[in-house]
């Protein structure tokens, strides 16, 4: 029978309905996640990754918007049903301090896992206390169809690509095949804002907030306009690049590793994966961290702690990499028997991290619930400059005002690659 979870779910709901919470609490830990949602991955979590935890763990998933609504609603109603949550750094941020409890006691418990200190610090979400324990990491890579490789400009190597070369490459492809085949995930749920914050701005300006309207930024946006001219016009519809890649609509794409994985695992012989390009200030890249946190008033805190301890064990972490393609937060060598698609991704991630000109750009810190509006500053700039062809300088001036107000409002200090600031991060 493949229905144990649903039957358990019925029992749980019935129990909840009758008000007999205590009985359910004793047996069950509810693990609520925005990650590993697709059905195949979720069953791997249930059947493989969560094995070995004492007691029952119910793994349920939700999309980030539903997650946010539910977390808030449960707090407002004063009735918590979730014990442990797994979500991206940016998704957990809006829930501090209202919906999450500080978990400083767990820091000691996972101390022997070897989670790097800078990752643990991210888990404080800009507060003085630990809010989440790092769970898995990922980043963004470029993927290209092997058909595109013949059009690489002379002397270019995909692993040390620059934006200039990328532009030339995409131009060559467009000229020779008559189709614009560079692609970006600029659709409604695409991660284009992360491209600007973690790749484009650091590479061109060496900063994200402070350099928002600098001369370097203007130059960068002009390059972006040129890139767009050789990009597939459907890019504003793409949310996941794996589909246009598999359809052959796009030959060269940038996206989150989880969003190109399908293309690489189904046709590992058709594609190559490599680091994002470098600009004048370096090769900007953004590590993505998912964390495990405990909501306020979680009914089964013991169970939650057990889940966090289990998921951060090195062997579980390696299993996670092999089964679902998210990489460990602990120091552990990847096993050699990875599926070929995951191996391609792992190679690209390693090349990114090991690149000489690598410039780490961290996820925004301290923005709280304003993370969405922070993203909007960058995507609005893109809309106006690139899609609506408004003058670069004017747009940057007016968007900078919004950005500045946002920073003052949240009093968020600068984060890498911007230089640390006293008080709110200034826009220069």
């Amino acid at each position: 029978m493949t229905h144990p979870v649903s039957r358990r779910a019925i029992a749980m709901a019935a129990a909840a309905f009758l008000g007999s919470f205590a009985a359910a609490q004793a047996q069950e830990t509810v693990f609520y996640s925005t990650q590993l949602r697709p059905i195949e991955e979720a069953s791997k979590v249930r059947d493989v990754l969560l094995k070995g935890i004492p007691g029952k763990v119910t793994y349920i998933v939700d999309e980030p918007p539903a997650f946010a609504v539910r977390m808030k609603a449960e707090t407002q109603a004063g009735k918590r049903t979730v014990d442990v949550v797994g979500a991206l750094h940016g998704e957990l941020q809006p829930h501090v301090p209202a919906d999450l409890q500080p978990i400083d006691d767990l820091v000691a418990k996972v101390a022997d896992r070897g989670i790097p200190a800078n990752l643990m610090d991210l888990g404080k979400l800009g507060t003085g206390q630990q809010q989440y324990i790092p769970w898995m990491q990922a980043t963004y890579v470029m993927v290209a169809s092997k058909q595109a490789l013949q059009y690489l400009p002379a002397g270019a190597d995909v692993n040390t690509l620059t934006y200039e070369q990328l532009l030339q490459w995409a131009k060559n492809v467009a000229d020779k095949t008559g189709q614009r085949r560079l692609g970006f995930p600029a659709g409604p749920t695409g991660l284009m804002s992360r491209f600007f914050q973690g790749y484009f701005y650091p590479s061109f300006t060496g900063g994200v907030v402070t350099t928002f309207k600098s001369a370097d930024a203007e130059a960068g946006w002009n390059t972006m306009k040129e890139l767009w001219a050789v990009s597939n016009p459907n890019s504003t519809n793409y949310n996941f690049m794996q589909e246009p890649l598999m359809a052959g609509e796009v030959w060269i794409a940038w996206d989150h590793i989880a969003r190109v994985k399908e293309a690489l695992t189904t046709q590992p012989d058709q594609f190559v994966a490599f680091p994002a390009p470098a600009g004048p200030k370096g090769r900007g890249y953004m590590p993505v961290i998912a964390g495990l946190a405990i909501p306020k008033d979680a009914p089964n805190r013991t169970g939650a702690v057990a889940v966090i301890e289990h998921m951060t064990k090195p062997e579980t972490q390696l299993l996670t990499a092999a089964e679902v393609g998210f990489f460990p937060v602990v120091k552990a060598d990847l096993p050699p028997n990875l599926p070929p698609g995951v191996k391609l991704l792992a190679g690209a991630v390693a090349a990114t991290q090991g690149a000489k000109d690598a410039l780490v750009s961290l996820l925004p810190v301290g923005l709280g619930a304003k993370g969405g509006e922070f993203n909007k500053v960058y995507t609005d700039a893109f809309q106006r400059i690139v899609l609506r062809n408004e003058p670069v300088k004017g747009v940057l001036e007016s968007q900078a005002k919004t950005l500045e107000a946002l920073m003052k409002d949240t009093n968020a200090p600068c984060w890498a690659p911007d230089k640390p600031s006293q008080g709110a991060c200034p826009v220069q």
Partner: protein, 286 residues
């Protein structure tokens, strides 16, 4: 449909049989075009659903099925929880039908037959529900649902779906009752029927097909509603909400399989109640 069916050129009582062949040809061509207009997109979804992983990316596509594969469809149906979600959908939709008829039809009758103070205020209230995007109400609703224990139950979902379906029920039944001549009822009163008897014996039989149509609306609204259903449930998802969650991040051929699965029940349901739709017709052409 008398009015339009009598548009035939000759003042002849056996109207439809006298259509000249050229006109009949035109009629059938038009009809075929309309049928194709409705069916062709569904056919393409089915092709996508059974075309397998590579089928959806083929270029140029053939309009004929090739290398059919039932694998994605089977895999889809085997996903755990689909059956549970299906049952939830039926419960929620069934309750929505009951609630919206019970609440909506009396209101529609009141609006059609009486003029009373506050009538326009009531009309406004009913319209407000449709005029406001329900999705935005999700947050306050979720909070109160958790408090009263309706959260994550098909019953709770059906309450919200009733809010959505009620204006349809009230407005459609209003125009339905307005269309049934008041004189019929008044005649029944004259013959000694009470108001209730007159309603049950005279009005209800005439209104029944229309009420059936209202029930279909309510069912379909509930069946297809995604947003409220996915916000207000976690484990007891309705089928549409459950599929949405899975579909959002599945490869394209799975999405077509899911879309196809969503279309099938509605096609069947409308087929099942087509007798009522035809009965609507029957009254007109009697």
């Amino acid at each position: 449909m008398t009015a339009t069916s009598s548009k035939a050129p000759l003042p002849d009582t056996s109207r439809t049989y006298t259509l000249p062949s050229a006109r009949r040809f035109l009629l059938w061509t038009g009809m075929a075009a309309l049928l194709a207009w409705v069916l062709v997109p569904i056919y393409f979804v089915a092709l996508g659903a059974f075309g397998g992983r590579t089928g959806v990316f083929r270029w140029p596509k053939s309009i004929w099925p090739s290398d059919l594969s039932f694998a994605p469809m089977m895999q889809f149906l085997n996903i755990e929880g689909v059956f549970n979600a299906l049952m939830n959908s039926f419960i929620a939709a069934g309750l929505t039908v009951v609630f919206s008829i019970l609440l909506g039809a009396p209101a529609g009758y009141a609006l059609a037959r009486y003029s009373f103070r506050g009538q326009n205020a009531y009309r406004l209230l009913v319209l407000l529900t449709r005029a406001f995007p329900l999705a935005i109400l999700a947050l306050p609703l979720t909070v109160s649902f958790i408090r009263i224990g309706l959260y994550d139950t098909p019953f709770g979902v059906s309450l919200i779906h009733t809010v959505l379906a009620l204006p349809f029920a009230a407005l459609v039944t209003q125009s339905l009752f307005m269309g049934i001549p008041r004189e019929y009822e008044e005649a029944a009163w004259v013959f000694g029927c009470t108001r209730l008897q007159a309603f049950v014996r005279i009005v209800l039989p005439l209104a029944l097909p229309g009420l059936a149509a209202t029930a279909i609306f309510a069912f379909v609204i509930s069946w297809n509603e995604v947003f409220a259903a996915s916000i207000l449930t976690v484990r007891e998802r309705t089928l549409t909400a459950y599929l949405l969650k899975i579909l959002a991040e599945s490869p394209l051929h799975y999405r077509f399989a899911g879309g196809f699965i969503l279309i099938i029940p509605s096609v069947l349901f409308i087929f099942a109640v087509r007798r009522y739709l035809f009965a609507v017709w029957g009254i007109a052409s009697k």
